[in-house]
C-alpha cells in the first residue's frame, strides 16, 4: 500500500492518525496461561486497553484496505506471511504465518515459503462443516486471498502490489475481465507463478527479480482470508472479518467504537527475547518469552475532534494519545520535554521520526514550471522551512532537503542542493534567470491545495507571501482532497501539496515516485523524467539491499535534488503521550498489529484513575 498524503489538510488529522496507528495497536496485561503472568483473565478480570482513532474504519476486508485506520484495526485480526520484529532496529522482518524466511532461488525469481502448521482461522459460523470451529491455514488460502485482489471485478485498490510481478498473474486478471460476475470467477484456475506445493508449502515465481516482495508479504492486503467466509458473508465480509490473528472482532458500532477480543485459538507466539540496546533498561524485555497476546481486549473509540479526544486522554479514559496542535504548548516545554504537570500525572512522552517526506510538487509537464529550472530553484530558495515548521507544526518535524527520510536505508545527509535552503536574495536572482528562460515576466503560478480548512488557507497565504517577497506571484486554489487528486492525476495541477508515507523500510518505495514511466495517473505525480534517474531506478529496484545499491540510491537522489521537481519541505516527527500504566510501548513506523505485544499495569491505572 502506498500512501500519499497531503500535508496541509492533515496537520491535525495526521497527528490523530498517529493516534490511530499507535492506538489501534496498544494493549496491555498478562496473557492467560502465561508462564509468569499475573493469572488468568478469570482470576483478575479481563485486561482492557482504551485508545482512539480519528477516522472511521471503512471495512475489514484486507483486499480493500488502503487507509491507516482500517489497517491498524484489521491487523489485529489478520496475519501475513511475515511481520516486523517488534523491538529490533533497523527494521527487520521475521516469520509470521511462515515457518521461516523464504528460500530464494539463485536467479532471485523463485521464493519457496514453508508455512507453520499451527495457524488456525478464528472460530466463526462460516465454517459450517466443523460447526463453527476454525480450520487450519494452508498455502491455498494465501493464493486464494491474492487472487481476490487480482479479480478485477472486486475492484481492489491493492492490485498494484502484484501488478506485473508474478508469472501468469496478470493473465489471471485478464481472464477475470471477461467473466460476467465476480461470483463466477474460478479461483481454482491455475496461475503459473503461484503454486501450493503441498498444504504447508507455497512457491512464488516472479517475472523479474523483486527483492522487496518479502516486505509486501508483510503488508496487510496480502493477509490470508478463508474462502468459507467469503462464501458465507459475500459482500458483507468487510463487516465480518475472519482471520488468523491474535484478536477477533467482538463488536463494531460503526462510527463510534470497535472492540477486539483475544482470539482463544491463536497460535503459540512469544514476546521477543532480544531487542536493541536500551530496550532492557526501558523495561521492554520484561515480558520476554510470554505467550502473545498479552491483553484480553482492545477498545477503540472513534473520535474525530481534537477537544473530546484530548479531554478523554486527560481524564485517563484513553491510555495513549497524540497531542492536538492547539494543546501542544500545554503539554510540551520549549525544550521539547513534557511539562512537570503532565509528568506528575504519570504521562510519558515518546518522540520518534516518521518515515515520511512532504513536498510541494511541480507538474513537470507544465510549460511554465516544468521547463524552467531557475524558477524551481527560486521557489525552493524562497521557502523558510524552519519558519514553516514553527508556524504550522509546533516544530514537530525536520526540514527536508531530499527525497528520503532519515530512517530509510540509503538516506544521505550530505545530499543537498544549494537551492533547498532559505536564501531570498539568491531566489530573487534566480527569478531574473527564470524570466530570461521564460522569455518575459513570469505568469502567475497556481498552487492547488486539497483542503479548504483554515490551516490550508493559512498555508496558502504563507506560501503566497514567501513567493511575493522574491517576485513570484502565487495564486492558491482550495478544493476538497478528491478534487485536488483528480487534478493531479489528470496533470492539470501546476503545483500541489503532496507527501509520501513509506509503507516499507526500503528506499525503492520513495524512488519509484521519481521514475519516469510511473507518471500520472501512476505514483510519479510530478511527471518527472530524467533518463539517468530512470536507468538508476531500474537497477536499484531489482537489487538486494547492499552498499552498492545505497550508492545507486544516493546518485538517483542527487539527480532529483539537482532537478528539483518539487519544493521539499519536511520530515515529520511524532510526539506521542501515554500513561505509565501502559507497558511495552515502542513506536514502530511500519508494523501494524502491534497490540499483541503491549502490556498493562491494571493496578496502577486503578490507582491513578480508578478504572
Amino acid at each position: 500500500m502506498y500512501r500519499a498524503a497531503m500535508f496541509t489538510g492533515s496537520l491535525v488529522a495526521t497527528l490523530l492518525l498517529t493516534v490511530a496507528f499507535v492506538g489501534c495497536g496498544e494493549s496491555g496485561g498478562n496473557s492467560e496461561g502465561s508462564e509468569n503472568g499475573s493469572g488468568s483473565a478469570a482470576d483478575r478480570g479481563p485486561l482492557v486497553t482504551y485508545s482512539a482513532t480519528s477516522a472511521k474504519v471503512r471495512g475489514m476486508d484486507p483486499m480493500d484496505i488502503g487507509d491507516t485506520t482500517s489497517s491498524g484495526v484489521a491487523s489485529g485480526i489478520y496475519d501475513c506471511l511475515y511481520q516486523y520484529h517488534y523491538l529490533k532496529r533497523p527494521y527487520e522482518l521475521i516469520p509470521s504465518l511462515a515457518a521461516a524466511m523464504p528460500e530464494v532461488s539463485e536467479d532471485g525469481l523463485t521464493y519457496t515459503i514453508k508455512l507453520r502448521g499451527d495457524a488456525y482461522f478464528q472460530d466463526d459460523e462460516c465454517f459450517k462443516a466443523s460447526g463453527g470451529k476454525g480450520r487450519k491455514l494452508v498455502a491455498e488460502d494465501l493464493i486464494y486471498s491474492w487472487k481476490r485482489i487480482a479479480n478485477i471485478k472486486n475492484i481492489s485498490k491493492n492490485w498494484w502490489i502484484f501488478d506485473g510481478r508474478i508469472k501468469g498473474f496478470d493473465e489471471f486478471r485478464e481472464y477475470t475481465k471477461a467473466v460476467k460476475d465476480k461470483k463466477d470467477v474460478d479461483y481454482d484456475r491455475p496461475v503459473e507463478g503461484l503454486e501450493a506445493v503441498d498444504d504447508l508449502t507455497l512457491r512464488i515465481t516472479l517475472t523479474k527479480p523483486w527483492p522487496q516482495v518479502v516486505f509486501m508479504l508483510a503488508h496487510l492486503p496480502t493477509a490470508a482470508v478463508p474462502r468459507e467466509a467469503l462464501a458465507h458473508y459475500g459482500d458483507e465480509f468487510l463487516n465480518h472479518p475472519v482471520g488468523t490473528g491474535p484478536y477477533r472482532l467482538k463488536d463494531w458500532r460503526r462510527g463510534s467504537k470497535i472492540i477486539l477480543e483475544r482470539n482463544p485459538t491463536y497460535r503459540e507466539e512469544l514476546y521477543p527475547s532480544e531487542g536493541e540496546p536500551g530496550d532492557e533498561e526501558a523495561g521492554l524485555l520484561a515480558d520476554a518469552g510470554k505467550r502473545l497476546p498479552l491483553i484480553d481486549q482492545i477498545d477503540i473509540s472513534i473520535i474525530e475532534e481534537d477537544l473530546p479526544l484530548w479531554l478523554k486522554f486527560l481524564a485517563g479514559d484513553l491510555d495513549i494519545s497524540g497531542i492536538p496542535k492547539d494543546n501542544f504548548d500545554t503539554a510540551i516545554t520549549p525544550s521539547r520535554e513534557l511539562t512537570p504537570e503532565f509528568r506528575e500525572k504519570g504521562i510519558v512522552l515518546k518522540v520518534y521520526e516518521e518515515a515520511a517526506t512532504y513536498w510541494y510538487g511541480f507538474n513537470m509537464e507544465d510549460p511554465v514550471v516544468g521547463k524552467n529550472q531557475p524558477l524551481r530553484q527560486a521557489m525552493n530558495l524562497a521557502i523558510d522551512r524552519d519558519e514553516f515548521l514553527t508556524l504550522f507544526l509546533n516544530n514537530r518535524g525536520v526540514p527536508a532537503r531530499g527525497v528520503l527520510p532519515p530512517m530509510i536505508a540509503g538516506y544521505d545527509k550530505d545530499i543537498n542542493s544549494p537551492y533547498t535552503v532559505y536564501d531570498p536574495e539568491l531566489a530573487k536572482k534566480k527569478v531574473k534567470e527564470a524570466e530570461a528562460v521564460h522569455g518575459g515576466p513570469l505568469p502567475v503560478i497556481t498552487l492547488t491545495m486539497g483542503s479548504t480548512d483554515s490551516t490550508a488557507r493559512q498555508l496558502g497565504q504563507w506560501f503566497a507571501r514567501s513567493y511575493e517577497r522574491v517576485g513570484i506571484t502565487l495564486e492558491v486554489e482550495y478544493m476538497d482532497w478528491p478534487t485536488a487528486q483528480e487534478k493531479v492525476k489528470t496533470k492539470s495541477a501546476q503545483m500541489y501539496a503532496m507527501g509520501w508515507v513509506a509503507d516499507i523500510p526500503d528506499a525503492e518505495n520513495f524512488m519509484q515516485l521519481f521514475y519516469g514511466p510511473n507518471g500520472s495517473p501512476g505514483p510519479n505525480n510530478m511527471n518527472y523524467k530524467n533518463p539517468k534517474a530512470d536507468a538508476l531506478y531500474q537497477k536499484l529496484s531489482v537489487m538486494e539491499d547492499s552498499p552498492e545499491r545505497h550508492e545507486l540510491i544516493r546518485e538517483m537522489q542527487q539527480i532529483v535534488v539537482d532537478d528539483l521537481p518539487c519544493v521539499f519541505t519536511l520530515h515529520r516527527v511524532a510526539f506521542i503521550l501515554r500513561y505509565d500504566w501502559m507497558k511495552n510501548y515502542k513506536p514502530h513506523v511500519f508494523g501494524y498489529g502491534l497490540g499483541k505485544y503491549r502490556n498493562l499495569d491494571a493496578e496502577l491505572r486503578r490507582q491513578r484513575v480508578g478504572r
Binding site: G66, I155, K157, P521
Partner: protein, 325 residues
C-alpha cells in the same frame, strides 16, 4: 380533504422526478466522473475502467440511443439517469465508496440521529412555546425584556462555542456528563443528555423570538380580551385560547422541521461521537461519495414533501376556517 390528499399525492411523483433530476445533475454532471479517485493513487487504467463500469459512468447521461439501436427501444433507458432513478425508487442505493451497503448505513444512522434530535426538538418546542406565551402575556415588563436580551445573546452565540463550553466545563471540569460516547439502547441515554441540552440551548433564542412574535399578534385579539373579561384563569387563556389560535404558524415551523430531524445535527454528532446521519452526510461530502449524498438527499426530499402535505392537513384539523378544497 381526502380528495385533496389524493391530489397532492398525485403531484408527488413529479416532485420526486424533479428531486432526482436535480441531485443527478449536481452529483453526476457537475461533479463528474470520480472513478479514478475511487480507484486510489496507483490504479491501473483497467481498474479505473472497471470502476466506471461498476458505478455506471461508462453509460450515457440521460438516454442510451446506441443501446436502443443495438438491443431494442427499451435499452434507451440504459443510462446513468435512469439507473439513478431506478435505484432511488426501489430504495436500493447500492454501496458506498467504502463498499458498505448504503441502505444499512442509512438505517444505522437514523436511530442515533433521531435519539439526539427528537428530544432537542420536543424540548425546544415545549420550552420555547411556553416561554413565548408567558413573555407575550407580560409584554414590555422586566421578564419580557430579560428574555429578549437572553434570546438575542443566545442567537449570537455560535453553536460551536456552546459545544466547546459544555464539553469542557460541564463535562470535563465539573464531571456532570460524559465528555463523549455512544451506546445503543437505554444504556446510552447518558451520552445524549449534554448534547441534547446544548442543542436546545443553541436553538432556544431563535425559537422564542419567533413564537413570541406569533403570540404577541394573537394576544391582542378580541377573543383574548373577551376571555379575560369573563375572568378566565391565565393558564386557561394561554393553553385553551391563545395556543390554539396560534397553531398555524407553529404547525408550519414544526411539521416542516420533522424531516430534517433524520439528518441529525452535524456538529453535535461529531463532537459527541454520535454515529448519526449528519455525521454520515458530512463524511460523504468530504469524500465526494455521491451515492450516499444522493440517497440522503432523496430520502430527505421525500420526507419534506410528505411533511408539506401533513402541514396542510394539520391546518385544516386545527383551524376550521382553513379549507383544503
Amino acid at each position: 380533504m381526502l380528495s385533496y390528499i389524493v391530489r397532492r399525492l398525485l403531484y408527488t411523483p413529479l416532485i420526486v422526478v424533479g428531486v432526482l433530476l436535480v441531485t443527478f445533475l449536481l452529483f453526476r454532471v457537475v461533479q463528474g466522473d470520480v472513478s479514478s479517485d475511487i480507484a486510489g493513487k496507483n490504479a491501473s487504467p483497467e481498474t479505473i475502467a472497471e470502476i466506471r463500469k461498476e458505478y455506471g459512468y461508462d453509460k450515457p447521461l440521460i438516454i442510451n440511443t446506441e443501446a436502443a439501436r443495438e438491443r431494442g427501444v427499451l435499452a434507451v433507458f440504459d443510462s446513468q439517469f435512469f439507473h439513478h432513478f431506478k435505484s432511488a425508487l426501489t430504495l436500493d442505493f447500492g454501496r458506498s465508496r467504502s463498499k458498505q451497503k448504503i441502505s444499512t448505513l442509512l438505517m444505522e444512522g437514523a436511530i442515533p440521529s433521531l435519539s439526539l434530535t427528537a428530544p432537542i426538538f420536543l424540548g425546544l418546542l415545549i420550552t420555547s412555546v411556553s416561554l413565548s406565551m408567558l413573555v407575550a402575556l407580560r409584554r414590555g415588563g422586566p421578564f419580557d425584556t430579560s428574555v429578549v436580551v437572553v434570546c438575542v445573546m443566545g442567537m449570537s452565540l455560535p453553536i460551536l462555542a456552546t459545544i466547546l463550553f459544555g464539553q469542557y466545563f460541564l463535562a470535563h471540569k465539573l464531571g456532570w456528563f460524559p465528555v463523549f460516547g455512544y451506546e445503543p439502547g437505554l444504556a446510552g441515554a447518558k451520552y445524549f443528555v449534554l448534547p441534547a441540552l446544548l442543542g436546545m440551548l443553541a436553538g432556544l433564542g431563535g425559537d422564542v423570538r419567533f413564537y413570541r412574535t406569533v403570540m404577541l399578534d394573537e394576544i391582542q385579539s378580541d377573543y383574548i380580551r373577551t376571555a379575560r373579561a369573563k375572568g378566565q384563569g391565565t393558564l386557561r387563556i394561554l393553553y385553551k385560547h391563545l395556543l390554539k389560535n396560534a397553531m398555524i404558524p407553529i404547525i408550519s415551523k414544526v411539521v416542516l422541521a420533522i424531516p430534517f430531524l433524520f439528518l441529525g445535527s452535524l456538529l453535535l454528532e461529531r463532537f459527541f461521537g454520535i454515529p448519526g446521519l449528519g455525521y454520515l452526510m458530512i463524511e460523504a461530502i468530504g469524500a465526494r461519495d455521491s451515492q450516499v449524498i444522493m440517497a440522503l438527499t432523496f430520502i430527505i426530499s421525500i420526507l419534506f414533501v410528505l411533511g408539506n402535505l401533513a402541514t396542510d392537513v394539520c391546518y385544516a384539523l386545527v383551524d376550521p376556517r382553513v379549507s383544503l378544497n
